[in-house]
């Protein structure tokens, strides 16, 4: 019988090994997915008891979001406040136990609640530390943000301002805005959520607009950097011409003779650029669009569901170079092209930064409870074009603001490079664009602006907004 008894013990050991295996699976290997399970209230309850880190503006003083304690002892919980009201509603988002969290509050949640690796948290526990969140200094500049919101003046649209050399986002405005403080209230949240103007929707990163002529900066990059064309290359600027069998006209039906690229960009000559686009073809255009970050979600530190990829859409599907596309119209920002204001700001920032695209970032510094700081280490996303291309494009874009369609964006005493865009949605209804950077000789800020459904044109509508935001940031830097 002894052999059987030993085997029986072996069987029991196998059963117990199963217990150990399953316990390790739940407690260690699968714990992340269990903690993310929506039926699991533990993480929410526990995070309520952690002092969530403060979010500061780029000056390190202005408070964007802070947590204040309510109750005491074991029942003490922290509640989030947003002193800026609606000013930073998008992109900062909100964090409430009743409502969950979105935006910057979600994407930086681990730092804000002080989540660390298992090993570090054990060390902390041994030392008797209570979990506490890290503070974050965001890259947002209060004055620039305010200037952007004021500039839009209640008109639906968005403004994004990026530091070309680091990718730091100084302003990100989306109108209509919302006040995150009211989201706590179920009824108010319900109203925001069902509002036709979609205030919870971050237009700067989620909305897909036809880019209009601002796209010509991308086309020009492809043309110059691939070596296919130079600033002095010429096409005919007569209007209308047939592109893919459909007549295409210049804005206002304006006629031009045989003109070079600088003239064509300065006066935003559609027929010229459509011919250029057809000469370049799908592959070259896609190559440069991809380098600019089209056809993928932006690398910005916001949650993925609040970021949209820019590109050519058939319904919800992104088309690629092998699809049937009217590339001539893509070159002038028509066709089924949909871009985000963030993407166009990145285009301007890339030209400003000698052809290098930096990953955009909404944070500058993380400060842990002991005062240790982690600073943003700017990362290059891609090398889009050569310095030479960037320099030629810079010069051409300066001419747009000096003598072309973008004169409204001019800042006195400073040279500005820019490009306007007016996407006609229906007769008299436009999406008005302006993208650009300043100072052109030493770019400090790159900005994109869009105003939806306006009767105005890109230059006159968005030019002044660009000017105001740029002046605010540049004067802040000097002062």
């Amino acid at each position: 019988m002894n052999r059987q008894i030993v085997k029986l013990f072996g069987f029991i050991v196998v059963l117990y090994a199963l217990l150990f295996g399953f316990t390790s699976y739940w407690s260690v290997f699968d714990s992340d997915s269990l903690e993310a399970n929506s039926a699991n209230r533990r993480p929410l309850l526990e995070e309520q008891q952690i002092r969530r880190g403060t979010i500061f503006a780029d000056d390190g003083r202005t408070v964007i979001a802070r947590s204040t304690p309510v109750g005491k002892g074991n029942n003490k919980i922290y509640v989030r406040h947003y002193p800026g009201g609606p000013l930073y509603g998008n992109p900062i988002g909100y964090s409430f136990v009743e409502r969950g969290r979105v935006g910057f509050e979600l994407s930086h949640n681990d730092e804000l609640v002080g989540n660390k690796t298992e090993f570090l948290s054990v060390l902390d526990e041994l030392q008797g530390h209570q979990q506490e969140g890290d503070d974050i200094v965001s890259s947002l500049n209060p004055a620039a943000q305010q200037a952007a919101v004021n500039g839009l003046g209640g008109r639906r649209g968005a403004v994004v301002a990026i530091v070309p050399s680091t990718g730091e986002v100084k302003a990100m405005a989306s109108i209509p805005e919302y006040d995150p403080n009211v989201v706590k209230n179920s009824k108010a949240f319900e109203r925001l959520n069902t509002d036709d103007s979609a205030p919870l929707f971050n237009r700067a990163t989620q909305a897909g607009y036809p880019p209009g002529s601002t796209m010509k900066v991308v086309t020009a990059t492809a043309a110059l950097d691939s070596g296919e064309l130079s600033p002095s290359s010429t096409f005919s600027g007569r209007s209308p011409i047939e592109i893919e069998g459909v007549p295409l006209s210049n804005s206002g039906g304006e006629q031009f003779g045989t003109i070079d690229m600088t003239t064509a960009l300065t006066n935003s000559v559609n027929t010229w650029w459509a011919q250029a686009g057809e000469k370049l073809g799908n592959d070259t255009m896609f190559k440069y669009m991809d380098r600019f970050g089209f056809n993928q979600k932006p690398q910005l530190d916001l949650p993925g569901f609040q970021l949209s990829a820019s590109g050519i859409y058939q319904g919800a599907r992104l088309l690629d170079a092998s699809d049937r596309i009217d590339i001539g119209r893509v070159a002038i920002g028509q066709e089924r092209l949909r871009v985000t204001p963030l993407q166009m700001a990145e285009v301007a920032a890339t030209v400003a930064n000698n052809g290098e695209l930096m990953e955009p970032r909404l944070w500058s510094k993380v400060i842990d409870p002991d005062g240790r700081e982690t600073r943003l280490d700017p990362a290059r996303q891609s090398k889009v074009m050569s310095e030479d291309t960037a320099s030629k494009l810079n010069t051409m874009m300066q001419s747009v603001v000096r003598e072309g369609t973008g004169t409204a964006g001019a800042v006195s005493g400073i040279d500005v490079a820019g490009k306007t865009g007016t996407a006609e949605l229906s007769p008299g209804v436009n999406d008005a664009w302006f993208i650009g950077f300043a100072p052109a000789s030493d770019p400090q800020i790159a900005i994109s602006c869009i105003v939806e459904h306006t009767s105005g044109f890109g230059g006159p509508t968005c030019g002044p907004i660009f000017k105001s935001v740029a002046e605010t940031i540049l004067s802040g830097r000097n002062g």
């Binding site: 019988m1 059987q4 030993v6 150990f20 399970n37 526990e125």
Partner: protein, 441 residues
Amino acid sequence: MSARTRELFALIPVALLVTAGFTAVLIANSDQLGNLSFLYGAYFLALCVATHIVIRIRLPDADPFLFPLVALLAAFGMVMLFRLDEGLARDQANWFVLGLLLFSATIIFLRDYEALERYRYLIALAGFILLILPRFLGHAVNDAYLAIDLGPITFQPTELAKICIVVFLASYLNERREVLVVGARNIAGVVLPPLKHLGPLLVVWGAAMLLLVFIRDLGSSVMFFGAFLALIYVATARISFVIIGLAMFVVGAYFFAHTAAHVQQRFDIWLDPFDDAGGSGYQLSQSLFAQADGGLFGRGLGDSLVQLPACHGDFPDRCAILPAPHTDFVYAVIVNELGLFGGAAVVLIYALIAERGFKTAVLAEDGFSKLLATGLTAIFALQAFVIIGGVTRVIPLTGVTLPFISYGGSSIVANFVLLALLLMVSDKARRRVRLQSETRV
């Protein structure tokens, strides 16, 4: 060093562990430290030493590790209960004392456990009555009839019944194992026991099915039937018997799973606890969440979230982030507070107890002693597996107690009687081994 001295020394770290555990809970709960935990530790040590003296006198050769290991489990349980609810811990301490008294009484008054063989049918009958009693006197908890109310206390007769059944089976199988093996016939490649001896085995199978129908408890039936199959295997060395038995059980259980809604539901929850995580799957999914929350090292004693803060609702059960933390889900609390390491330690202690139990069976000389030790160890080890397995989703969740740890008087008392019998078998077996080696020298 004699076996008893080793036992005595092994008890000291256990008592220190209790003291440390109580200290940790006290600090977590009140931020202050009195001499209370030392007092509790001292009480615990005194009780264990007193019991140790009983063992020293009556069973000097018994296994030195079984009692300290059990004391360790009890210490674990007491600290966890103290952390959940001081009142529960006080109750449990009383039951612990009663358990030790019954343990000593068994050792002192049952001079020779082999006398049990003579009363085996009486014992079987008693066991059977104990099993079905709750159906007539008790009330259903979670749809299962497991407890009867005796005035202020509830009593779970299945806990005592398991000992009766094992004693009966050990005795019966010891007598019949020869004929079961010799008379076995090979029918179409399957070795079947002789038909006329099959009867009693069918009775056991029927009893297990009856448990399912009558008491409606899958956990107990698995436990009983598992111990039965373990004994059949050890007695006859025929794995085919085990397979036949298992097949019969599965067929029966499958049938009842489809006729009894609660069994079916248990299976559904087991297959996907998150499907109805707010309703029927609430308990199991919360158990898994608690374990996930524990991680490798746990949150520390006293730091587990068991109740929602300041929750008063129409459904008090919904206030519980972890329902039944002191009984069915005590293992989940342990993993939550002490992490994978704590959980692994508990499983390891049960494995060590199983090892000592089976070692006792191997050392025992006669068939009855071997089978008795095997049966007692197997049913104890299976009980731990059934409940921990349920809590960790290895098998469908059923409501048996975690021996010596979870709250429950009948469980702790019955398991101490089980331990007493095991130690008596061990004493006899080891005395023979000791005497043999002494005469050889």
